[in-house]
Assembly symmetry: C2
Homo-oligomer: 753 residues x 2
């Protein structure tokens, strides 16, 4: 547990041991030494959960400004691990502007040299002066406020603090946001900014029962401020929720609370009037408050500040410690992790919210880690085995002696081929090879199982297996596998499957009874399975069966400021500037002799107009249900077009920012053998596919009662396939907002055939 | 020592213990257990130093292709830690093209599934077929070679190897380079490519005693190839030097050997005919070979390949092991490090070749680490103390009672001010404050020392000290220091020093006898010390002394492919795209509400046209001497211009690529109290300044006998100061090559006043 200890432990002696009555978490080991283990757990929680104290006018004397160290130590005794202190010192911090008079705020008086750098960083959060109001209706005072705020931000940077906090007291704070917008984007002083939101809309200085919109809420206040800061990184700009005695509805209604899971939440400010007294006479929280805190306690990295609203704590010596204790008791087991974790989920957790796309350095390593996991996806291969078995049973029922099966390509065959330089994210030893030969083995095992169960000795059904593979490298592996494992039973055909009819005619190969393929991307058709399989149709018999028979893609709108920022923030490092994009254009050799990929549409549009594969984590779905998008069936004897068009509507039940649509699919292998990545029907244990993500260029603000629709087209031309999409927002009053069409003509995302 | 063990140890049992006769390094602890320690050291060296074996036609039978594991194990017994194996398998690798006949190389036959991924990665280097010759005079064969090389590179990527090697057999290989250029820039398969160079120019297929230039050398062959690959990252594209029995002159002449310290060197290929037999009958290396290897053995990350030139090793069972042993004995103590290292040098070593410049994420942390080191630069503050003492002695000799001293600004005062948004790399608690108050204390300590030594009690000399500081944040610290440490003796003036004459007149301040400042950058004047000090001239008395009295900048041409690449490769992350550049332009608010810095000159020109501060490491100086650039003297009573112009010539004594010029300065504080960063006269122990770097846009190829000159102007206008520079190369035949003028009009690097 010592790794859970923080620097705070060194400064702040925690002499008052916690003899709290909290129940340890369920997964907590109850060993023989449970007494000391329990104590150990509580100690660890105390240092893990950071509770800070807001220095208030009740206790603040001028001398504190040069005695920060003692102030911290006393707070440490009450088990606070940091303090929010007026960054201009006490006199300036608690100055009261005089109405009408010439307002000249006191100068900053908080000497930095009284504490070493690292102590300031660890223990002190700079609180800007509460009287600052850049959005004041008094233009003179607004100007003084702006100057004062910049002075204080400068001083925070100068002192090298790691964090600061400011309190918003208005519904609308455009000037404050504009000031922060300029600061965060044009200064490279990086400290975390905790933006404290009002505890309720009605508390706001500019609240007006007449003019304030009925569905205005705290989330909207935050979202407007964040947007005013051009959605700056959530690592530095975070919301802090202020909790008062009365919780507003939006902090009780689960689906509205959930929105904070999709926002950069820094923590909470708890006003002391939320505390009641329990039967032991200790400060305690109501169950509604506890429940709210627990619902959003996603990580022990969150911070809680206690903001005293009365001076009671000055007279009741244990009260301060009780405030902190009650908060730790509320949240300390939410993220308590036992030391053991499954290796598999650990491997996957590395990919939380990581964009899998070319030109993204993180994605380059996918092959060596995630694909190693995927190769062990027994669930998927078992399902393929079951499906083949099902076909053998059905066809073999007439007593035939032979069934001809063609295994068509690896999952990424058409795309991973080295002859196609546009897809640079080639998994090295990924599904291409492994997939093919595991499927090969799966098919031959199904043959054996079928004969064992359903045939007499001497009356065996023989599978004649062909494997078609385009990847010249994979062919070397397949030949070796055929020699070593399959006893040369398999006919290996090095070719694009779309040339199979021609080759098979020339070579007199048998027509298939069954074709098996796994050419599926995260929304099914996006690795061009329809186009590839259509290429063999002319070689099929009218009764040829395809595994899979069908796949359907599904979508749902999602909210995630984090993923929106992550997509925008992708940049192209110098060493990657010659790598092919996903769009139509190819890299060019410039006059200097350098290979360079050009992006006439601009980097940001290029980033936003891609479909990504993401293990979604910091997001919420905005629909209780996913809805169907495109369906494909095989064999496609009629040569029906593979172009598609869909318009999929979702009602919106809370104020929100829609960042895009998550994509899933289900895969009907044969009859009732189905694999699914759709949340509602996800195949347990299967991990071969992460969700797809169809982003919008800008987050789309929607209000409770609106309807959002995804308009998406799948287009096909000679060279490849691409999607074009946009969103449409319908207001209850009939007003319609349409976003720009993304990826027009496949300029940013084009899947070459 | 177990941390020195590598994966190789697990695969390759090292049963044959090394009882070698090598002397352990001098710093090796000779304890009581020296016998076993020695053994331990040797074992560790064996696993630290990677020696690999080149599989040759002498031993290669076709069966090897499917028995790589056994091959590796046998090599492991002879203490090889990796193997260079034909990536197409033995048959293809050792195929001999038939002259004139239809050349159809054998197919690739090296199955990947025989070894786990990580074993391929760790133990096997893919060697391309030696018969491949893309630059063959036979156009048909050149074409076959290109196809074959691409096929083999594809297969290396598919297998997931970590490294490959190809041998260059020509002086000029433009087609091979063009093929690699396209591969490295447009494929994101990242494996290390070891380009083996010819063992001598005369060995090359295209060597011609008549037409080959007399000063052609192996370095030039490499530099041309690297340039043909547009200087791709040295992490992936590395030179491997082939060592045969006769060492060419350039591998003996130290100054020519040194060039490889400025290149991405991957290691060596040692042909077995370099070995002689020592008096014990063991294979051994000549002292010339050992000396060459040791001179370039910069790190144990280098690799050595042993390339058998005869089949003797097939009959002499211990010979293979002796080859490896002799190599390890040669180099194993060069980089042997004892476990203790000084903390100071460790802290500095983190900054090796790190560009200190805005928009460079690494540089953002400089404040918290390097500046912490700088603050402890006792040498510098002692020298300032000595200089002040010198002045007190001289002026105090007349028995006067008072001396008026003005301490003018922190080192970065005019630039680090928060009112000046252009310099974003503000050290948080760096030299600004600390510098000022340490200097303040230094001055008052000098007063005390002077009085103790030279004055009677009651006849003390009193220093009247004024400190002028522009930084509003630093003023808060200074006031606190004045209160706490200086007993309110100091008059603190919050102002830009250029307004001092005006303020002093108004306030009736005394005129200074001495002004003290430390406003110096890595080449002296580049933090605008001349402009700042000129601003107080009108307030001085004719006899006022300035500390410093004078500073001179110095330059020398340098070679460093690594630093050239590093400067080019800087990119601007999304979160930094609103940060001010160093140029004249300021960030702008675009139509979307985002702050963005525009670079009309392009990112690369912007990167190359900056002056950087770099702790130079992977570089060599191309001149035995640095030469003077600019001189400034203070006080500048004549108000002489601070514009400067210099043309500084250096003879070049070897073929080389000039990447730019390193800059230094010396600082004449008072009389003989001098501080210097110039290599020849560097003040021992002083660490406040790293060298400056004045880069060229492109590396400039110069030949032995050429002369290079730096043309540089210091220009001044209303708003600031900038340098413009270019290089001029003069050939012995009088031909002159001039590079473009960099940073015209300060568009990329402009120091605002």
């Amino acid at each position: 547990m010592s790794s859970h200890r923080t620097y705070a432990d060194d400064l702040f002696p925690q002499e008052v041991m916690d003899s709290g009555t909290a129940t340890p978490p369920q997964d907590y080991p109850s060993s023989t030494s449970s007494q000391s283990s329990h104590q150990h757990y509580l100690e660890s929680a105390n240092s893990r959960i950071h509770v800070g104290w807001v220095t208030s006018p009740y206790e603040a004397k001028e001398e504190l400004d040069t005695a920060i160290s003692g102030h911290c130590s006393r707070l440490g005794e009450a088990k606070y691990t940091f303090v929010a202190f007026p960054v201009g010192g006490v006199v300036r911090g608690f100055w009261k502007p005089v109405e009408g008079a010439k307002n000249e705020p006191p100068a900053i008086q908080l000497p930095d040299v009284q504490l070493a750098n690292n102590l300031w960083e660890t223990y002190v959060t700079g609180r800007t002066s509460p009287w600052i109001d850049c959005d004041s209706e008094d233009p003179k005072f607004a100007e003084i406020s702006e100057e004062s705020l910049i002075t204080e931000l400068n001083y925070i940077a100068y002192m090298g603090l790691n964090s600061m906090t400011i309190q918003l007291n208005r519904i609308s704070s455009p000037r404050t946001a504009a000031l922060f917008n300029k600061w965060v984007w044009t200064r490279n002083t990086r400290f975390t900014m905790w933006i404290q939101l009002p505890s309720s809309v009605e508390q706001c200085l500019d609240f007006d029962p007449q003019s304030t919109p009925k569905n205005m809420d705290i989330w909207t206040i935050w979202a407007n401020f964040r947007q005013g800061c051009y959605n700056f990184s959530g690592v530095y700009l975070q919301a802090m929720l202020r909790i008062a005695g009365d919780l507003p509805d939006e902090f009780v209604d689960t689906k509205r609370v959930d929105r904070w899971k999709a926002e950069p939440l820094g923590g909470f400010v708890v006003e002391t009037d939320v505390y009641a007294t329990d039967r032991n006479g200790m400060a305690s929280l109501s169950s509604a408050h506890i429940s709210f805190l627990r619902q959003l306690w996603s990580s022990d990295d969150l911070r809680i500040l206690v903001d005293p609203k009365t001076d009671t704590f000055l007279y009741n010596v244990t009260l301060k410690a009780e405030y902190a204790l009650a908060l730790r008791q509320a949240v300390r087991d939410v993220n308590y992790k036992s030391s053991e974790s499954s290796t598999t989920s650990l491997a996957v957790s590395e990919y939380k919210d990581v964009l899998q796309a070319p030109l993204q350095p993180l994605s380059e390593n996918l092959d060596s880690s995630v694909y190693n996991v995927f190769e062990q996806d027994k669930i998927k291969y078992d399902a393929y085995g079951d499906a083949v078995m099902g076909v053998l049973k059905e066809l073999g029922a007439d007593g035939r002696k032979e069934i001809v099966i063609y295994l068509l390509g690896g999952g990424r065959g058409p795309i991973s081929s080295p002859n196609n330089p546009t897809k640079v994210n080639v998994p090295r030893n990924g599904p291409v090879t492994i997939g093919v030969y595991i499927h090969g083995t799966t098919i031959l095992r199904a043959e054996k199982d079928y004969n064992t169960k359903f045939r007499q000795k001497g009356d065996h059904l023989k599978v004649k297996l062909y494997i078609v593979e385009k990847n010249a490298n994979a062919i070397i592996t397949l030949r070796y596998m055929n020699h070593r494992t399959w006893r040369r039973r398999v006919t290996i055909i090095e070719s694009d499957m779309r040339r199979l009819p021609e080759i098979a005619r020339k070579m007199n190969y048998h027509q298939p009874d069954l074709i098996v393929s796994e050419l599926l991307g995260s929304i099914g058709d996006n690795e061009l399975s329809p186009e590839c399989l259509d290429g063999v149709t002319d070689f099929l018999k009218p009764e040829t069966i395809s595994i899979p028979q069908k796949y359907i893609s599904y979508v749902a709108p999602i909210m995630s400021n984090h993923i929106h920022q992550t997509i925008r923030a992708q940049s192209i490092p110098y060493l990657a500037r010659g790598l092919p994009s996903h769009g139509r254009l190819q890299p060019e050799l410039n006059g200097e002799g350098a290979w360079v990929q050009l992006y006439p549409q601009g980097d940001i549009i290029n980033n936003m107009d891609q479909i990504y594969v993401v293990f979604l984590s910091k997001y919420i779905s905005l629909s209780r249900q996913t809805k169907e998008m495109f369906t494909f069936q095989h064999p496609n004897f009629q040569h029906s077009t593979n172009e598609r068009s869909a318009f999929i509507e979702f009602p919106i039940d809370r104020n929100t920012d829609i960042m895009g649509f998550a994509g899933y699919f289900d895969l009907h292998l044969y009859k009732n053998v189905i694999l699914s990545t759709v949340p509602e029907t996800h195949t347990p244990g299967m991990m071969s596919w992460f969700p797809a993500l169809i982003p919008l260029r800008e987050q789309l603000r929607a209000d409770d009662g609106d309807t959002v629709a995804l308009k998406i087209n799948r287009k096909v031309d000679q060279g490849g396939v691409w999607y074009e999409w946009s969103a449409q927002l319908k207001k209850p009053n009939g007003e319609i907002i349409t976003t720009p069409i993304q990826n027009p003509n496949g300029e940013s995302y084009y899947m070459r055939m």
